[in-house]
C-alpha cells in the first residue's frame, strides 16, 4: 500500500485554445475510481511540477453508470469514469498507478474533459424516438405486449446517450454525417412498440438518408464499447433488413 496515482490530463481551455498536459499526483486509496481521483485533485489543484492550476473541468452526475454523463477516454479507451477502477486499469510505475485522461474526440470540445454531445439528443428528434400517444389523459391500459419483445425493448431502453458508441466508431468523424449506433438502437426500440411503430415509415426514411445506416462500416466497435452491452450490431443488421423490406414495399406501392 502507500501507492500514489499519477494522473495525466489533457487540458484545453476551449476549442480555440492550445491543448497541453498537466500531471497530478494524489494518494491512492482502496477501490478508488477515476471520479474520486478528480474530486481529490480539485481540493488541491497543484501539478507534480508544483504549479497551482485551475482544477480540470469534467462532468458527472449519478456515479453509478445510469446517467451517461462522465464518459471520457481513460488510458486510451472510451468509458464511464465512475466505474473506472484505478487498481484494475492502471499500470504501476515505481509506486504510482499511471492514469491518462482525455476528452472524447468525436464531439466538439467544451473544456478539458467536457465535450458537447448535443448532436446525440438532436438525433433522438430525427429518429422520432417516442411513442405518439394521443394525449396524457386517462385512457386506460396500453395494449398487452409480448414479454419477449419487452425484454429486447428493455435492453435497448437502457441506452444512456453516453457517446461511447460514437467515440469508438470509425465512421463517426469530421467528414461524415452518420447519426451513430445509439440513435439506431432507439429507432428499433420504438419500431418494436405497438403504437410507436406507427412512425416506422418516417424513421425508415430518415435512417436511409445520408446520415443513416449505410454509413455503418460494420467495424462492430459500438457493441464492444457500449457500457450497457446493447446488441448494437444486431440492431443495425435488423434495421438493414427492415429498411430493405420497407423500400421494396414502397416500390410496389404497399407502404404508406
Amino acid at each position: 500500500m502507500g501507492r500514489t496515482v499519477r494522473i495525466k490530463i489533457l487540458r484545453q481551455d476551449g476549442a480555440a485554445n492550445e491543448s497541453h498536459w498537466d500531471v497530478f499526483e494524489i494518494a491512492h486509496r482502496e477501490k478508488m475510481n477515476v471520479v474520486s481521483a478528480l474530486m481529490e485533485i480539485r481540493k488541491r489543484p497543484s501539478t507534480t511540477e508544483g504549479k497551482d492550476v485551475v482544477p480540470p473541468a469534467w462532468e458527472a452526475a449519478c456515479l453509478e453508470e445510469v446517467c451517461g454523463s462522465c464518459t471520457m477516454n481513460i488510458n486510451g479507451r472510451v468509458r464511464q469514469a465512475c466505474t473506472a477502477m484505478i487498481e484494475e486499469l492502471c499500470e504501476v510505475e515505481g509506486d504510482a498507478y499511471v492514469l491518462t485522461l482525455e476528452p472524447m474526440k468525436k464531439f466538439p470540445l467544451v473544456r478539458d474533459l467536457i465535450v458537447d454531445r448535443s448532436r446525440m439528443f438532436e438525433g433522438l428528434i430525427k429518429v422520432k424516438a417516442w411513442v405518439p400517444i394521443d394525449g396524457s389523459y386517462d385512457r386506460g391500459a396500453a395494449p398487452p405486449q409480448d414479454d419477449s419483445i419487452r425484454k429486447l425493448r428493455y435492453k435497448l431502453s437502457e441506452c444512456m446517450t453516453c457517446g461511447c458508441c460514437m467515440e469508438a466508431c470509425p465512421q463517426v468523424n469530421a467528414d461524415s454525417e452518420f447519426i451513430g449506433a445509439s440513435a439506431l438502437g432507439q429507432t428499433l426500440l420504438f419500431n418494436l412498440h405497438p403504437v410507436g411503430s406507427s412512425l416506422k415509415g418516417d424513421r425508415y426514411d430518415y435512417i436511409t438518408s445520408e446520415e443513416g445506416i449505410t454509413n455503418c462500416g460494420n467495424a462492430q466497435n459500438c457493441a464492444k464499447a457500449c457500457p450497457k452491452e446493447l446488441p448494437l450490431t444486431q440492431v443495425i443488421a435488423q434495421l438493414n433488413r427492415d429498411t430493405t423490406v420497407h423500400k421494396l414495399r414502397e416500390w410496389i406501392g404497399l407502404a404508406g
Binding site: 481529490e40 484494475e88 396524457s136 446517450t161 412498440h193
Partner: protein, 641 residues
C-alpha cells in the same frame, strides 16, 4: 381556450418533465432549466419501482390501503388529503406510463406485472427491470422531446437557476439563470415558475444521491421568502456501498432474500471475511431482535449499524459492516442462477464498484443519506367531502404567489419517512397536480410576462451578476471543495443518524463559521468559459444556508418521529408535535413556526409497534449508563417556541 401563457420549470427530472408536458399539452409555452441534459437527472437512479394499487392479483388492494401504508410509513407527519389524491391517481399514472412505452415487466398474458416492496403486503409495485427510474424518466423525456420538436417546449440544459424574479407585490414573475458555458447570467420572465429540483443529499456527503443534488435551488427560493417544510426529515438507508465519491444503494431486497448483517467479534480479525467461522461472528441485528432480525425497519437497522461502528466494532474498526448472502449458495445450496434471478441488478452494482461477487464474499456496507422528505412548503385545498379540490390554484403552490413546487424538492407527501417505491409516484402525481395548480393560477392572473417592467427583470439579473462578480473578485484563500467536505462532515456526524441536542447546537456554530469562510473562497478559476469552481462556490453558500434550516428543525423538534430520532427525546409526541416545521429564512438564521397542524382528516394517528427501539439499542451496544453520561435531561417544554 385561455390565452397562451409562459411557464418556467426548474429541474428536468420526473417531476419537472411531467409538469412541463402537462402544461405544454394544455397549450402553454414552457421553458425547462436544468443543470444537466434532462435525460441525466437523478430520477435515473431509482431502481425498485412505482407503487399503484391496481389489485391485479385479487388481494383486495385499494388506493385506500396504499394511502394508509404511506401515512403509517410517514409516521403521521404527512397531510392526508394530498396523500389520498396521490394514491388514487397512482393506477392511472402507471397506465399512462405504459402507454408511453415504458418497458415494464409483464405477465405471460402481456399485462403489467407487479411485485411486493417494503412497507406493504400487497403486490403493488410496477417495475422495469432494476432501472425503473431510468425507464420512467426516459418515457417522459421522449414525450417532452415531441413538444420540443414542435417548438412548444424549450430546454435550457447546462443552465443553473440563480434566483426568482419577484415583483413589487411579491409575486414570482420568472427567474434568472446562468449559462454554465458562457457564464452569462440572464433573466427569464415567466407567468409562473415550478421548482422540481430534487433533494439535498450532497449536503451530507455520505449519500446515494447524484452529485448534482445539492438542494441549492430550494435554498435560493427559501432565501427569497419561500417557506421550507420539515427540513429535519432526512431518510437514511441502512445498506449502501461506502464510496469516496458517493455511496451506492444496495436495495432492501437483499435483506428480504435472506441477507444477514454481521461484524467479526474481533474487529481486527485478519482472516478473509468468508473464512471467519460462525462462532467468531456477531450477528448484531439478530441478537438484538431474534424475531425480526435482519428485517427490522430501515431506520432501526441504520441505527444499529451506526452504533456498532461508533463503538469501534465495525470491520477493521472502520465504518463498515457485512451484509452477507454468501450462505445462500454455500450453505443453503441455492443455485447461482436463482440468486442472480432474484437479485441480479443489485449484485451487479456491487461487483462493478467493489470487484467482488457477493455470492461468494460478504458485502461491505454502511448507511447513507437517501431521500429528502422535507422541502419547499406547498399548499393544498380541500373541496367536496374533504377531498382535494384539483381545480384550486393553491395545490402545490408555495407561499410565494406564482411559485409552485413538485417532486422531492417539496415536503408534502412523505411526512417523516418515505415508503419504498413512492418517490417516483409522488414526482409524477405531484407534477401533474402542480400543472393543474398553475393552470388554475393562469386563469385568474391579471398580469402577464409582457407587462412586467423590464427594470424588475434587469434588477434581478444585475443582482445575480454582482453576486457572481463578488465571488470572482474574492481575495480569500479557502478552497470551496475543501469547505464542502467540512460541511458534509458536520452534517453527517451531527445531523445524520445520531442526533443529540448538544451536537446539533454545536453544528449551528460550525455552520456560522462555514458561512463566513465560504465568503472567503480563493478564485481557483478566473476563466470566463465553462468555469466550474465559481458557480460551485455560490452553490456551497446556498447549501450552508439550507443546512442551517435542517439543523434548526432538528433542534426544535423535541420528539422522535420517523427518520428524526433524537436521543434526548426518544418518544413520538403527538400532543405537541403533530405539526409541520415551517422555516423562514432570515439573515440571522432560520425562524421556525409550528402553526400548521397536520391534516389527519382520514385516519387518526396510532402508535408504531417496535420490538426494539433506538433507546434500547444504545443501552445494549453502548452500555446501560450511556444516557446518564451523555444526554442532558430535558427541561421544560420546547414545543411552544
Amino acid at each position: 381556450m385561455a390565452a397562451q401563457r409562459k411557464a418556467a420549470v426548474v429541474g428536468g427530472g420526473l417531476a419537472g418533465l411531467m409538469t412541463a408536458m402537462k402544461l405544454a399539452e394544455a397549450g402553454h409555452k414552457v421553458q425547462i432549466f436544468s443543470l444537466v441534459p434532462v435525460k441525466r437527472s437523478h430520477s435515473v437512479c431509482a431502481q425498485g419501482g412505482i407503487n399503484g394499487a391496481v389489485n391485479l392479483r385479487g388481494e383486495g388492494d385499494s388506493p385506500y390501503l396504499h394511502f394508509e401504508d404511506t401515512i403509517t410509513g410517514g409516521d403521521f407527519l404527512n397531510h392526508q388529503p394530498p396523500v389520498m389524491r396521490m394514491a388514487e391517481r397512482a393506477p392511472a399514472i402507471i397506465y399512462l406510463l405504459d402507454r408511453m412505452g415504458v418497458p415494464f415487466n409483464r405477465t405471460a398474458e402481456g399485462v403489467l406485472a407487479f411485485r411486493r416492496f417494503g412497507g406493504t403486503l400487497k403486490h403493488r409495485t410496477a417495475y422495469a427491470g432494476a432501472t425503473t427510474g431510468q425507464q420512467l424518466l426516459y418515457a417522459l423525456d421522449e414525450q417532452v422531446r415531441r413538444y420540443e420538436a414542435s417548438g412548444q417546449i424549450e430546454k435550457f440544459e447546462g443552465w443553473e437557476f440563480t434566483s426568482l424574479i419577484k415583483d413589487e407585490q411579491g409575486r414570482c414573475r420568472g427567474l434568472t439563470a446562468q449559462d454554465l458555458r458562457t457564464m452569462k447570467i440572464e433573466s427569464f420572465p415567466a407567468d409562473a415558475v415550478v421548482m422540481a429540483t430534487g433533494g439535498n443529499g450532497v449536503v451530507f456527503g455520505r449519500s446515494t444521491n447524484s452529485i448534482i443534488n445539492t438542494g441549492s435551488p430550494v435554498s435560493i427560493c427559501y432565501q427569497q421568502g419561500a417557506h421550507y417544510g420539515n427540513p429535519e426529515m432526512i431518510q437514511i438507508h441502512p445498506t449502501a456501498i461506502p464510496g469516496e465519491d458517493k455511496c451506492r444503494l444496495m436495495s432492501e431486497s437483499v435483506r428480504g432474500e435472506g441477507g444477514r448483517v454481521w461484524v467479526p467479534k474481533d474487529p481486527t480479525d485478519e482472516r478473509k471475511p468468508f473464512d471467519i467461522p460462525e462462532g467468531d461472528r456477531w450477528y448484531v441485528c439478530e441478537e438484538l431482535d431474534p424475531v425480526y432480525g435482519n428485517l427490522l425497519s430501515r431506520d432501526i437497522v441504520s441505527f444499529i449499524i451506526y452504533c456498532t461502528c461508533r463503538m469501534g466494532r465495525g470491520y477493521k474498526g472502520g465504518q463498515q459492516v457485512f451484509l452477507d448472502i454468501s450462505h445462500l449458495h454455500h450453505k443453503k445450496g441455492m443455485t447461482r442462477e436463482l440468486i442472480t434471478d432474484k437479485l441480479g441488478g443489485v449484485l451487479d452494482i456491487y461487483k462493478k464498484f467493489m470487484r467482488e461477487d457477493p455470492i461468494d464474499h460478504p458485502m461491505r456496507i454502511y448507511p447513507a443519506v437517501h431521500y429528502t422528505m422535507g422541502g419547499l412548503w406547498v399548499d393544498f385545498e380541500k373541496g367536496h367531502e374533504g377531498a382535494l379540490d384539483i381545480e384550486s390554484h393553491r395545490n402545490q403552490a408555495t407561499n410565494i404567489p406564482g411559485l409552485y413546487a413538485a417532486g422531492e424538492c417539496e415536503y408534502q407527501y412523505h411526512g417523516a419517512n418515505r415508503l419504498g417505491a413512492n418517490a417516483l409516484l409522488s414526482c409524477l402525481t405531484g407534477g401533474e397536480l402542480a400543472s393543474q395548480g398553475v393552470l388554475a393560477y393562469f386563469q385568474n392572473m391579471e398580469v402577464s410576462t409582457e407587462d412586467l417592467a423590464s427594470s424588475v427583470a434587469d434588477d434581478a439579473q444585475l443582482e445575480q451578476q454582482s453576486r457572481y462578480d463578488t465571488i470572482m473578485r474574492s481575495d480569500g484563500t479557502e478552497n470551496p471543495y475543501g469547505l464542502l467536505a467540512e460541511l458534509q462532515e458536520t452534517m453527517w456526524n451531527n445531523v445524520g443518524i445520531w442526533r443529540l441536542q448538544k451536537d446539533l447546537i454545536g453544528a449551528q456554530g460550525t455552520l456560522d463559521e462555514l458561512t463566513e469562510r465560504s465568503k472567503q473562497c480563493a478564485v481557483i478559476d478566473a476563466g470566463a468559459w465553462s468555469n466550474q469552481a465559481a458557480p460551485f462556490t455560490r452553490t456551497l453558500q446556498h447549501m450552508i444556508e439550507m443546512s442551517k434550516a435542517v439543523v434548526a428543525g432538528a433542534i426544535n423538534r423535541n420528539e422522535s418521529r420517523g427518520a428524526h430520532f433524537k436521543l434526548d427525546t426518544p418518544q413520538r409526541d403527538d400532543d405537541q408535535w403533530l405539526r409541520t416545521t415551517r422555516a423562514t429564512w432570515t439573515e440571522k438564521g432560520p425562524e421556525l413556526d409550528l402553526d400548521e397542524k397536520v391534516d389527519c382528516s382520514y385516519i387518526a394517528p396510532r402508535a408504531r409497534k417496535y420490538k426494539v427501539n433506538q433507546h434500547s439499542i444504545v443501552t445494549k451496544i453502548m452500555g446501560d449508563d450511556f444516557f446518564e453520561k451523555n444526554v442532558a435531561p430535558q427541561v421544560g417544554d420546547a414545543a411552544g417556541k
